[in-house]
């Protein structure tokens, strides 16, 4: 079945479509930014056009009729924008953004197994109706293409231009820019690099309107291109920028002297590029008179890196891989690690045998090499799974734009560390929590403009998101310069919900008060006066993050703002675990939730309100005995000395009391299977080598059960 072209195409479709939709959305953001800043970016509109053009064809090919139709009309709209028949207004951008979101939703539905795009029928019907309106308005406001002015174009040049390129050429003439031909010859093997270098040099100076191939040299090992460039600056500036590249610059000849915008009727283009009778006086570039025969030069500073044989290779050096295949590879590596542990066991036995000491040494050496390579392999697979957080941040920019409009607040969204990488799965799972956090910042953190002005703050509020890697963790900070958390309201809300009584409330530290925000239903909102149902509570954010082994902390300064800090492991595929023993059994505790371990004497344990606690640097740490959590029967008395493993879940800390710390080990968590799945406190099982299977503790549940958080039992 999967050999049918259409099935293969469907498999290919989704990742490519998602990539295109992401590009499309990114371009829209940039377009909107440029529009607001008053910079026109014709090339970017064209890129957006091209991306949706491809999407249309893709959707049509796999039978997604709605997506195809919608992208078709979006393409029409963008076509009109790039041809300047429609102005790119805020309303047009909004329509495009909506389409981008709808595309994303359809792609997500398909990704989750929907076989058609029918689920978005209403939304796409509604959007289409408004699109038709915009397109109809556009048709009435058609404006004429500007004429060629005094430029003398070769008919054969005009014939190879696409409609868009011809339009850009005319627009450049209209704007009174100078038009130039940059002739360059590239070696076949290095044209990609060479062309890129040339484009980079030209970009700041003007617009590359088109790339025309020429066949003047006849050398089969070279590709010659004429780049037609429109530039506002003097020719000397372009000449200087291209110095050293071995390219030839010529001004496109003109019939008159005028350099201003020309509205004269287009002259019949003469054949070939000829010197017009009255050429403008030569500009200060004696090195390249405009009409010398074209000297062909290979770009000099580019090394030939590949042999010709490679010319039938695909230019693309990337493959798309289903993440499940990587999971499988990761599992295999995990199993290989177990096999290595097994070898270590055999080795330990061999070492005891004196007669085989030599063999043991050799095996020891080989086992170490194997171990190192396995570590490298694991690291390499993890690296493949990594994607930059920028993917989520881009989506967030769109959300910020939308929410700030809805809320009538002007928001400056500052992103840093977008290049920080995280496991693909985590990145996906993070989008929603981050979105809620940012929504909260804008809705509840940032004050209305007039309030900010009164407080002497800049009218535009700032929401900043910053990511950085720290060892095996990624830290993401979401910060606003708003009003800060209202301690009094938080406490009142927590008391009303029954989490606290008035007396206990008075004893809370500031940090403990801020952390109340993570309890279900607790909020700084005054329920009656504010919109409800729009935001999602921070408790949901916290729960989602703890599923990802993430920890969240909050800091706030009244009047200055609030900062939320997320700490996440960079991957969940293979985890490091602390192997422990309690009441004669062995367990693994995921190391990413372990903060520290301490040795305690039985006398260190106090009881407060029927709960066992120990003092940790002046703070009270609730403890839970692993044997109590699982109702294990202990043979004999409790040891006098025990270990406490301090684990953290989001902002909570709990000490797990155990008998023995055995060591650290990489583990692959496996599900226990249907019958045992969902036992509270157990995340799964893992093999430690030597056929030994142990249970992996689910720290999140243990902490919640101990503290009663999430279940509403924390009220004293």
């Amino acid at each position: 079945m999967s050999d049918r072209p259409i099935d293969r195409a469907l498999q290919e479709f989704l990742p490519e479509a998602q990539e295109i939709i992401e590009t499309f959305n990114r371009l829209l953001l940039k377009l909107d930014e440029d529009r607001v800043a008053g910079r026109a970016a014709p090339g970017m509109i064209n890129e957006a056009f091209r991306s949706v053009h491809t999407l249309k064809a893709l959707a049509g090919s796999v039978g997604l009729a709605r997506m195809a139709h919608l992208s078709h009309r979006i393409e029409d709209l963008l076509d009109k924008c790039r041809l300047d028949k429609v102005e790119l207004t805020a309303e047009v951008i909004d329509l495009l953004f909506e389409a981008g979101e709808l595309f994303q939703r359809i792609a997500a539905d398909i990704g989750q197994g929907a076989s058609s795009d029918g689920g978005s029928a209403d939304a796409s019907g509604d959007l289409l109706a408004r699109l038709e309106g915009a397109l109809a308005r556009a048709d009435s406001g058609h404006r004429d293409e500007p004429a060629w002015g005094s430029y003398v174009f070769d008919a054969s040049l005009l014939s190879v231009l696409t409609e868009y390129e011809e339009h850009r050429l005319r627009e450049n003439v209209r704007a009174g820019r100078g038009l130039y031909r940059v002739h360059a010859a590239f070696d076949l093997a290095t044209i990609d690099v060479g062309l890129e270098a040339l484009k980079e040099r030209l970009k700041p100076l003007g617009e590359v309107i088109t790339y025309l191939p020429s066949s003047e040299s006849g050398d089969p090992q070279q590709i010659e291109l004429d780049l037609i460039v429109g530039a506002p600056g003097p020719e000397s500036e372009i000449q200087a920028a291209l110095a050293g590249l071995g390219v030839v610059l010529r001004a496109v000849p003109r019939a008159g002297r005028s350099t201003g915008p020309q509205r004269a009727p287009a002259p019949t283009p003469p054949r070939g590029i000829q010197a017009a009778p009255e050429r403008p006086p030569p500009v200060a570039t004696p090195a390249t008179p405009a009409l010398t025969p074209i000297a062909v030069a290979v770009l000099p500073d580019i090394e030939v890196v590949e042999e010709r044989v490679t010319s039938i290779k695909s230019a693309s050096q990337t493959v798309r891989v289903d993440i499940r295949k990587l999971d499988h590879l990761m599992n295999l590596v995990g199993e290989l690690s177990l096999a290595r542990t097994g070898i270590q066991g055999v080795l330990d036995e061999l070492k005891v045998d004196r007669e085989r000491a030599g063999l043991a040494r050799t095996l020891h050496h080989e086992a170490r090499v194997l171990g190192r390579k396995l570590d490298e392999m694991q690291a390499a697979i993890i690296e493949v799974r990594m994607v930059p957080l920028g993917q989520v941040f881009d989506k967030l920019s769109r959300v910020v734009r939308k929410i700030s409009r809805e809320a009538g607040k002007d928001i400056r969204f500052v992103i840093s560390g977008a290049e920080t990488e995280l496991d693909k799965l985590l990145v996906e799972e993070l989008s929603d929590p981050l979105m809620h956090m940012i929504r909260n910042c804008i809705d509840h953190g940032i004050e209305p403009p007039e309030v900010r002005a009164q407080a002497g703050k800049p009218v535009a509020g700032t929401v900043a998101i910053a990511a950085s890697q720290r060892g095996n963790h990624v830290v993401i900070e979401v910060e606003d310069d708003g009003v800060g958390l209202d301690e009094a309201k938080l406490v009142r809300s927590a008391v009303e919900r029954g989490y606290l009584d008035e007396g206990a409330a008075g004893e809370l530290s500031r940090r403990e008060i801020y952390n109340l925000i993570f309890l279900p239903g607790v909020s700084t909102k005054v329920a009656a006066t504010e919109l409800s149902g729009r935001g999602v509570g921070m408790d949901v954010v916290k729960t989602n993050l703890s599923r990802l082994s993430g920890i969240i902390d909050v800091e706030s300064e009244p009047g200055l703002g609030t900062r939320l800090t997320l700490t996440l492991p960079i991957t969940l595929a293979i985890i490091q675990a602390l192997v422990i023993r309690a009441a004669g059994r062995t367990y693994a505790v995921p190391l990413n939730s372990v903060l520290e371990s301490l040795l305690i004497q039985s006398g260190d344990v106090r009881t407060i309100e029927r709960r066992e606690v120990v003092d940790l640097r002046g703070q009270t740490l609730p403890i839970v005995r692993v044997e109590d959590a699982f109702r294990l029967r202990r043979e004999g008395a409790r040891p006098k000395k025990s270990f406490v493993v301090v684990v953290g879940l989001a902002q909570h800390r709990v000490g797990l009391v155990i008998d023995e710390l055995i060591g650290q080990q990489d583990i692959v968590i496996k599900s226990l299977g249907k019958s045992l799945d969902g036992i509270p406190g157990i995340a799964g099982a893992t093999e430690l080598g030597g056929q030994q299977t142990v249970l992996v503790l689910d720290v999140a549940t243990l902490v919640e059960e101990t503290l009663g958080v999430g279940a509403g039992e924390a009220a004293s």
Partner: protein, 124 residues
């Protein structure tokens, strides 16, 4: 007989659809390129019997590629099939004026691809 087709298209999915359609022609092998410049590279290294190209591609589009092929002594007899989309009439006209022999429209339909290619390669 053995032929080689060069498929020039920047979308890997669309390219794959065309390649799959072409796989039904016995004796036809297919090479692929992402855009016009890449196509010129491939054309320099391989003898190609038919060129199937998209119009709208980054850097060098199908129009320029057609023009370049038509003005090259060694390549100018290669039949060219243009891939267009509904609505892109202007660019399709330009491609045909530059010497493209035929066009197919997206979404790609295998029978349409096959009939044009067979016709141009004179395969019964």
């Amino acid at each position: 007989m053995a032929w080689t087709a060069l498929v020039v298209e920047d979308s890997p999915t669309m390219r794959q659809l065309i390649v799959f359609a072409l796989a039904r022609i016995k004796g036809l092998s297919v090479i692929e390129a992402d855009d016009g410049v890449d196509a010129l590279k491939k054309l320099a290294g391989t003898k190609v019997d038919i060129l199937i190209t998209d119009i709208n591609m980054p850097i060098m589009d199908g129009l320029k590629l057609t023009k370049r092929v038509r003005s090259d002594e060694a390549l100018k007899r290669i039949p060219i099939v243009i891939i267009t989309t509904e609505g892109a009439d202007e660019d399709r006209q330009r491609a045909l004026a530059l010497g493209a022999n035929a066009y197919i429209t997206k979404p790609i339909q295998a029978p349409q691809v096959l009939s044009k290619v067979k016709e141009l390669l004179k395969i019964a």
